[in-house]
């Protein structure tokens, strides 16, 4: 018995010398480390933004193309707002307002985009010129009110409009932006074609009844009369001037590139702490180690010390050969095999 033990030890690969043993042990350590190490926390950029959409009558002009068919400026700006909502990273907050006359009407305050996506998306889809409560449109004054609103909400501003002032802006010029200049970050977004187009006209019941003609649209006596008030095109010089005056960026929706990227250039740098999921790194490493411990698939067969030839079908036996073990107990090698 004792002789066999010594011989077995000489022949056997001990656990310390076995590659597979160490690989498995390493896999176990990696797994435990992955479970016990604290999670990695990273900062992700997020945005808090309120989009203000122009729903004045000139936004009904169908000088845009959406999916190959003519579309109104409102349809295009809604699509842009929706794209923005979709692309904002999770954790960002998005608010929505519409305006006519001088005042933005806030539909909802900025709220987390991913968890509430379907509700916010449906609300963007519901935006319609029929929400409008007035037929005038004072872009400068609305921008001022929007900036004050955004500052109060602690949010950036994306202000979408065609820049058409109805009645035309007076010689008094733009309102005084000195109180809000540079206090809010964001973008003025120009919507609409650069060529003049007629403005659709609707009756009391919201049915379309032709277009506005010269003389239908009032021109303020003090105003700069241009004779084209019944037509509409995006007023880019006006919008650029407003953007420069307020410290916002300017971009036209038709411009090359992504609206989100353009907005990001002018967005407040906000971040959110996020737990990085790295469990799969430890898990994957442990998996690779475990699988490689099984190679080669057919372990070399260690011949019995008896030297009486290899069995055709090797079996794993439980060889509890210790000094205290009785020979013939379960799993022991029969004594007859011990010596040649």
């Amino acid at each position: 018995m004792a002789g066999h033990s010594r011989r077995a030890q000489r022949h056997a690969v001990t656990a310390w010398q076995d590659r597979g043993f160490w690989l498995r042990a390493a896999a176990l350590l990696v797994l435990l480390a992955g479970l016990w190490l604290p999670p990695v926390v990273v900062s992700r950029p997020i945005c808090v933004v309120t989009a203000v959409l122009d729903i004045t009558l000139s936004m009904n002009v169908r000088d845009q193309i959406l999916d190959g068919v003519p579309a109104s400026r409102i349809a295009i700006e809604k699509r842009a707002a929706r794209a923005l909502l979709e692309e904002l990273p999770c954790g960002s907050r998005f608010g929505l307002a519409v305006f006519v006359e001088r005042q933005p009407f806030l539909l909802f305050e900025p709220v987390e985009t991913c968890a509430n996506f379907s509700a916010l998306d449906q609300e963007i889809a519901a935006v319609d010129w029929r929400m409008g409560w007035d037929s005038e449109s004072h872009i400068g004054e609305t921008l001022l009110a929007s900036l004050q609103m955004a500052r109060k909400l602690g949010s950036d501003l994306v202000f979408m409009t065609d820049g058409q002032e109805t009645p035309p802006v007076s010689w008094d010029g733009a309102p005084d932006f000195s109180g809000v200049r540079d206090s809010v970050r964001g973008l003025v977004v120009g919507v609409g074609g650069r060529a003049f187009s007629p403005i659709p006209r609707y009756d009391t019941y919201g049915r379309e009844v032709g277009v506005y003609r010269a003389g239908d649209v009032p021109s303020e006596t003090k105003g700069l009369f241009r004779g084209r008030e019944h037509l509409s095109a995006v007023d880019e010089p006006h919008l650029r001037a407003l953007a420069a005056e307020t410290g916002l960026g300017y971009r036209h929706l038709d411009d090359e590139g992504d609206l989100l990227a353009a907005y990001r250039e002018h967005a407040s740098p906000l971040t959110r702490k996020d737990r990085l999921r790295i469990g799969w790194v430890a898990g994957g490493l442990a998996l690779i180690l475990t699988l490689s411990a099984m190679l080669p698939l057919r372990q070399p067969v260690r011949r019995a010390p008896a030297g009486c030839g290899a069995a055709r079908r090797p079996v794993t036996t439980w060889n509890f050969t210790g000094p205290s073990r009785k020979a013939g107990g379960p799993g022991t090698v029969p004594a007859s095999l011990e010596r040649p």
């Binding site: 656990a15 043993f21 498995r24 005042q103 009407f105 372990q299 794993t316």
Partner: protein, 327 residues
């Protein structure tokens, strides 16, 4: 039902096969199997170890694939309703509740927004929608169970108001919100206004039809301040729709479930919303979204356990030899 993030990673489950074939145990050759006695304990231990190794591999693969539970919509039954709030946002709502010269800091719009937020918070299973109206009706939030979005919209209603009031347009827009609402839930329209107004006959017809179609319970919360006419008036005036009493009697024709409330201060709004709260307690089925629960940590724990037992078995089989020391 647990799900995985990366189903393609489940292809790695093929790794269970080598784990079944080889346990890492020593293979020992014998001249003839007939010389080895049948040993059931050894045989089952062997199978157990192979299964354990395979389970360890499977657990790691599931962990890497991102095993998780939910997010899951669960159907539950509770007390709740689908509530649309139609809120007057005309300029007059910016005035303070003035009790005959008394001044309070809060405008009617702010008080209404605050009380509606409290009402909303008391009803965790409700779906809510928000409609604002002044000269035109403005759907501010569609009927939804996304509670943060509803809160954000109710908060937004505390801001400065707009222009005039078209109460008929507000009511019909509010009732129209139920058109796309699936049947089954109790429907409630809460109209909050500080006055009434003429509702033209065609709009009245629309409202009658929509009220019948939706079966919504209508509650009119009249914010009365100063010398405003009361909600309950003598029969003479009650057909004048320009007065709240006239509107009240028009709503009475829509159904027995209608109730009107007159609120002279924020406390009375609170009492009215609590009354509505108590009235609208019918059971309904609602979907609750259980948050996602990651199970990858559990997977790695199970894998570690399997690996640990396997290692112990390996050590037990071979004994713990002394570390190789140079002699």
């Amino acid at each position: 039902m647990p799900r995985v993030d990366h189903p393609w990673a489940l292809l790695l489950l093929a790794g269970m096969l080598p784990a079944m074939l080889g346990t890492g145990m020593r293979r020992q050759g014998f001249a003839s199997l007939s010389t080895v006695p049948q040993d059931m304990v050894s045989a089952w231990l062997d199978r157990g170890l192979r299964a354990l190794a395979a389970a360890g591999v499977a657990a790691m693969v599931l962990g890497v694939a991102g095993l998780h539970d939910g997010p899951l919509g669960v159907e539950r039954t509770g007390l709740g309703a689908h509530v649309v709030v139609a809120l007057d946002r005309s300029l007059s709502m910016d005035e303070a509740f003035a009790l005959r010269g008394e001044k309070s800091g809060e405008s009617k719009a702010q008080a209404a927004s605050r009380m509606l937020a409290a009402f909303f918070a008391r009803r965790p299973h409700d779906s809510f929608g928000v409609v604002a109206f002044s000269t035109s009706p403005i759907p501010a939030m569609p009927l939804t169970a996304h509670r943060d979005a509803v809160s954000a919209s109710i908060r937004a209603m505390a801001r400065t108001g707009l222009a005039n009031t078209d109460i008929g347009a507000g009511v019909s827009m509010g009732l129209a919100q139920f058109d796309r609402d699936p049947p089954g839930a109790a429907r409630v329209l809460v109209l909050v206004s500080d006055g009434a107004g003429a509702i033209p006959e065609p709009t009245r017809d629309t409202i009658r039809a929509a009220a019948q179609r939706s079966g919504a319970h209508i509650y009119y919360l009249y914010l009365r301040s100063g010398d405003d006419p009361p909600l309950a008036e003598d029969a003479d005036d009650s057909h004048d729709l320009l007065r709240p009493a006239g509107l009240d009697s028009f709503f009475r024709t829509l159904g027995d479930s209608y109730q009107g409330f007159e609120a002279r201060d924020a406390g009375a709004i609170e009492a009215a919303t609590r009354r509505i709260d108590a009235l609208e307690t019918r059971p309904m089925t609602y979907r609750e979204l259980l948050p996602r629960r990651d199970l990858d940590g559990l997977c790695y724990g199970v894998a570690a356990l399997c690996l640990g037992i396997g290692l112990l078995a390996q050590l037990a089989e071979r004994g713990i030899p002394p570390l190789p020391v140079r002699q």
